[in-house]
Amino acid sequence: MTTTTTTETPVLTATGVTMRFGGLTAVRAVDLSVHPHEIVGLIGPNGAGKTTFFNCLTGLYVPTSGKVAYKNTTLPPKPHLVAKAGIARTFQNIRLFANMTVLENVLVGHHTRTKEGLFAALLRGPAFHRAEKASTQRAQELLEFTGLTPKADHLARNLPYGEQRKLEIARALAGDPGLLLLDEPTAGMNPQETRATQQLVFAIRDQGTAVLVIEHDMRFIFNLCDRVAVLVQGEKLTEGTTDAVQADERVIAAYLGTPFEGAPGADEIAEVEAAEAAETAGAAENAETATPPDTVARPEDNQ
């Protein structure tokens, strides 16, 4: 794993990002930066504001205050400009173009990297054909990369769940992003698929795209990430290496109801430990303590 070199320009610098919905502050003054060649995890209990934070980063929400920069250039809160700048994302509740084919979905992802306009399409000059061919080739490479080549002509809606998540990643990569935001990429996957996704994320990082990933599967996060940030009730509780975060008592109190190793019989011990830790830390500020970290049942999916 690459260690963070602070000399490199970060691909993401979020400073003081705050998002208020009426009386509810879903994200409060969050700072976060991601460097090239880095995989950063973003964890936190349900409703902590992780997805909302992603939406602020990608311009789907206009943050109440704060600013987001890509390679030191401040981004306007417009999703298409964010994508064009080089930040791509996937969605927690898969948002594919259901009635387009797999290949077409990826081609749409390549939209920002091509320029052919309406007149080029109507006149169909050689440049148009060349550009279409190049786009198709790039899309096919990405299908190969994600293992979706055999499904290229299927409608996205007809893919099984795991492949739909892969397709979302392929579509996001088609924009040649410098930073990829993944919102729960393994939700609903079986262990094999989760492992495959882990390999895929490593491969994406090795190709030069930094990754910021939200996930509830702790095993996945701690295997994958160079650095983990913890969001609790909209605020960044802590940030650090996986070891530091795992050892952090506040994190355990706020979030890790059970240790991620999940050894048989360890559950009860962990629960007692967590309860003790919560008491000693005097931070029994929410009821989330009892929430097992691996559950996927969420009251509401907003993106």
């Binding site: 948002r95 594919l96 009635n99």
Partner: protein, 609 residues
């Protein structure tokens, strides 16, 4: 994700197969003979069905139905030389044809009895036809046909029990048979010239069929025609012939497109008077505008309820610069300049209307465009010199638009070409056909490109599209403006065809197409996002009300019923987009997640949308 409806292949009436085949063939053969008999005694019923010796009027439809039924029965029976008719090898085509023949024939007999006041007006030939068509249908239903299994139907408590309930269920699972996958038999390899000949023949038959429909002289004949054609089309589809033909046309794409337009261009040469050419040119205008609307609705997914206003802008612009004595502008542009001006004016209006409204999503856009459509008409009515500046002569419109002259070719006078006389409307028909070709080209090229993919992406999921880097506002505006331009272009020709431009032509809904409601209906009925769909939808929507005038007060009722029936049976439109085909049929349930952002709460500003 998809669960196809379980189907089975069983006869509705249990009989040995050979018996069923003999009954059907005999019934069809006797049906053919019955059309040579007199069905009624007086010529008061249109079409002269009184002659013994040769068929006339509606009898010809029964004759064709009988011939087709016989041919498909023999084909399914593996008669040498006829097997090519049913590449799927199923018997459903026979059943559809027999049902269509029965429906057309019985419709004719009922219409005779109704118009002439009683069954006494039927000659024995009529009864024979009724009996023979019924025989053929019963025989066809004794063939094993693909239909839903009884178990696949939901149990409706009381409805399911009792003889009547059982019978209804039996009918339902036959009428809505679901989809039995039937691979086509491999095609016999043919030399390229033979394949091209087949394509030419297919388009020839299509031209003949459409011409026959347009030329029908009385409403009863058109109704009978529509019944038979609907059943026959379903039969050809079930037999696999449509799929066969689609393979051929895909293989020889350019030739097929050329053949289609050649067939369309041949239409005026089959006409000696202006009567039906006028209908044809109106259909073409309607169809072209519908195709333009399909860019906006079918590709970009923007529900535009005021689209006809752009046709109006084009028509009024052309009228103003046409040199008409009633025009407030004292200019006379040549047609190419008028066409460009009209299209440009529409483009400008499209951008002016689109720029503020396209920031809205969904229902809001529909309401705002509906409003703008009406504002156009009301504005035009008021620019009469009294309520506003004198531009459009208000409700009187701009009459006396002179006929076009292109390169010295006057559109207003008949011309002798290739041994036939091209009437004025035939001239306009050919000009309009060129514009249709242009719009088809624009639609297919724009749709099949980076821009078109972005439109479809916006239609599918606007949030995901913007997150993929698509500037959705700009692309929606582009679709809107392109649609407006195409409608404006069509409007410039329409002004010359109707020779007047009046505000009532450009309303949201009215009895005469094209208006916004009919345009949208043509797109949805024909098949959103396809090229042939809106063309076919427009033809049907124009012809049905025009030919059903004999129903008088019931005309709109019948029209409405026809629409409901069609949308019930084919929600994806007559020509399904390959995407929607999958969406509506093979899936048990629509499992599309809710694609909208949660309703904006206080303090949320949604960006970029």
């Amino acid at each position: 994700m998809t669960t196809p409806t379980p189907t089975e292949t069983t006869p509705v009436i249990p009989l040995p197969l050979t018996t069923a085949r003999i009954i059907t063939a005999a019934g069809a053969a006797l049906t053919i003979l019955s059309t040579f008999l007199a069905w009624t005694w007086t010529t008061a019923f249109p079409g002269n069905l009184t002659v013994t010796g040769y068929p006339g009027g509606l009898q010809i439809l029964t004759l064709i139905g009988g011939i087709l039924t016989l041919a498909f029965t023999l084909s399914a029976w593996r008669t040498p030389g006829l097997t090519w008719l049913t590449p799927t090898g199923g018997n459903n085509a026979t059943a559809y044809l027999a049902a269509g023949t029965l429906a057309t024939t019985w419709y004719t007999l009922i219409a005779i009895a109704d118009q002439l006041g009683g069954l006494a007006n039927l000659e024995p030939g009529g009864y024979i036809a009724a009996a023979t068509t019924l025989t053929a249908l019963l025989g066809a239903l004794a063939h094993p046909i693909d239909r839903r299994t009884a178990a696949s139907l939901p149990q409706h408590g009381r409805l399911h029990t009792g003889a009547l309930g059982k019978a209804l269920h039996g009918i339902y699972r036959t009428v809505r048979p679901g989809r039995t996958p039937r691979p086509l038999r491999p095609a016999r390899p043919l030399p390229a010239w033979a394949e091209i000949l087949i394509i030419a023949a297919a388009f020839g038959i299509a031209l003949y069929t459409v011409t026959y429909g347009i030329d029908t002289e009385y409403g009863e004949l058109f109704t009978g025609f529509l019944i038979l054609v609907s059943f026959a089309a379903a039969a050809l589809f079930k037999a696999g012939l449509i799929a066969r033909l689609a393979t051929l046309t895909n293989k020889h794409r350019n030739i097929s497109i050329a053949a289609a337009f050649a067939a369309a261009a041949a239409f005026p040469f089959t006409q000696s008077t202006d009567q039906y050419t006028l209908i044809a040119v109106n259909i073409l205008i309607f169809a072209t505008v519908a195709l333009g609307l399909n860019v906006v609705v079918g590709l970009a997914g923007l529900l535009d309820l005021g689209y006809v206003a752009f046709l109006g802008v084009g028509a009024y612009t052309a009228a103003l610069v046409s040199g008409s004595t009633a025009s407030t502008l004292d200019v006379h542009f040549p047609f190419w300049a008028a066409a460009l001006t009209g299209a440009a004016a529409s483009l400008v209006f499209g951008v002016i209307i689109g720029a503020p409204t396209l920031r809205l999503r969904g229902d809001y856009l529909a309401i705002v465009t509906l409003g703008f459509g009406e504002i156009f008409r009301i504005t035009v009515e008021n620019l009469d010199g009294n309520s506003g500046p004198s531009v459009t002569n208000g409700p009187n419109g701009i009459p006396n638009i002179p006929d076009l002259v292109l390169f010295g070719y006057s559109f207003g006078t008949p011309h002798d070409v290739a041994g036939t006389t091209l009437t004025p409307f035939a001239n306009y028909y050919l000009l309009m056909l060129l514009i249709t070709i242009l719009v088809v080209l624009v639609f297919s090229r724009a749709g099949n490109s980076r821009i078109g993919r972005a439109w479809i992406a916006i239609r599918e999921d606007e949030t995901a599209a913007t997150a993929s880097g698509i500037n959705s506002f700009r692309l929606k505006l582009l679709a809107f403006a392109l649609g407006a331009t195409l409608a404006g272009l069509a409007g410039t020709v329409q002004a010359h065809v109707t020779s007047t431009a009046v505000p009532e032509q450009y309303v949201f809904a009215g009895p005469v197409p094209p208006n916004s409601a009919f345009l949208l209906a043509a797109v949805i009925l024909g098949g959103m996002g396809t090229i042939s769909g809106p063309l076919l939808g427009a033809a049907l929507l124009y012809l049905i009300p025009a030919k059903l005038q004999f129903l008088q007060d019931y005309q709109l009722l019948a029209f409405g019923l026809a629409l409901i029936l069609l949308m019930r049976l084919r929600p994806e439109g007559i020509i399904p987009n390959r995407r929607q085909q999958l969406e509506y049929h093979d899936t048990g349930q629509l499992d599309v997640p809710d694609r909208d952002l949660p309703p904006g709460t206080v303090g949320v500003t949604k960006a970029g949308a």
